[in-house]
Amino acid sequence: MVPMNAVLLLSFLLFALGVAGVLIRRNALIILMCAELMLNAANLNLIAFARHSGTPAGQAFALLVMGLAAAEVAIGLAIVVALYRKKDTVQVDDINLLKG
């Protein structure tokens, strides 16, 4: 049986790396990937607690989160492509206007 502490610690470290990536990277694609990493860290927690409680509810949540992550990636990448066509850049600090 994997100890709960190890799972929580791994999930926390993955989440911290994701937050760091979102905060410091300039490339919108990598920021999107870091957001995915944070969702995965949350999923790891959900699965660990599902095993802890012995019910499948947490795993069902994790599956729903996975589906939402896929939707988020589809929309996010479409926005990145549209932005690249419009502004010719994907660096987030070059994109500072609300109007297109």
Binding site: M1, V2, P3, M4, N5, V7, L10, F12, L13, L14, L17, A20, G21, L23, I24, R25, R26, N27, L29, I30, L32, M33, C34, E36, L37, N40, N43, L44, I47, A50, R51, H52, S53, G54, T55, P56, A57, Q59, A60, A62, L63, L64, M66, G67, A69, A70, A71, V73, A74, I75, L77, A78, V80, V81, A82, Y84, R85, V90, Q91, D93
Partner: protein, 183 residues
């Protein structure tokens, strides 16, 4: 036999946990965007292996299918599409990086304090592991896909259907956003 299996699950979890951390770190700090995507792929596969050691077989396979099969390929397509090589000579990190790192370190220290207290403080009378009597009779581990499908289609049917609508809307929205000529 049982003890060996349980201990090997822990070791495998630690191994794949370190691989996941390495992949995530290389994703955050890689200079080349393609290397970032590869780091992301490694991290996702390692997290799928972690799911397997946590007795969530269905989710482990779903993770490999969705992330390694779908999302990473999508990211690679977009990396090729936006031609990142011309940004390479510019700087990698944002202007606020020192502040962001400082804030993050404070948050990590705060969480680490709580974590340390929970682990080694007086409140931790027993370690946070699964007590065997809790899982009795449910067999989430042995019949993972069955248990999960019952959870998903009996208890969480409405969220599941809403999720399918969200996916449809996201697909249509992605097509509308990414196509060149406006209607």
């Amino acid at each position: 036999m049982e003890a060996i299996l349980s201990r090997s699950a822990t070791y495998l979890f630690l191994l794949f946990g370190f691989i996941a951390l390495g992949g995530a770190a290389s994703m955050v700090f890689a200079r080349n965007a393609v290397h970032s995507v590869i780091g992301f792929l490694v991290a996702m596969l390692a997290v799928a292996a972690c799911y397997l050691t946590l007795q969530a077989e269905f989710l482990g396979v779903a993770q490999i299918l969705v992330y390694a099969g779908g999302i990473v390929v999508l990211f690679l397509f977009v990396v090729m599409l936006v031609e990142l090589t011309k940004f390479k000579e510019k700087r990698l990190f944002q202007i606020q990086t020192p502040w962001a790192v400082a804030t993050l370190l404070v948050a990590v220290a705060a969480f680490g304090g709580v974590f340390w207290k929970t682990l080694f403080g007086p409140a931790a009378v027993e370690p946070l592991t699964l007590r065997p009597e809790l899982a009795e009779g449910l067999k989430v581990a042995e019949q993972n896909a069955q248990a999960l499908s019952r959870g998903l289609y009996a208890d969480f049917l409405l969220p599941f259907e809403i999720l399918s609508v969200i996916l449809l809307v996201a697909l249509v929205g992605a097509v509308v956003l990414a196509k060149t000529e406006r209607v």
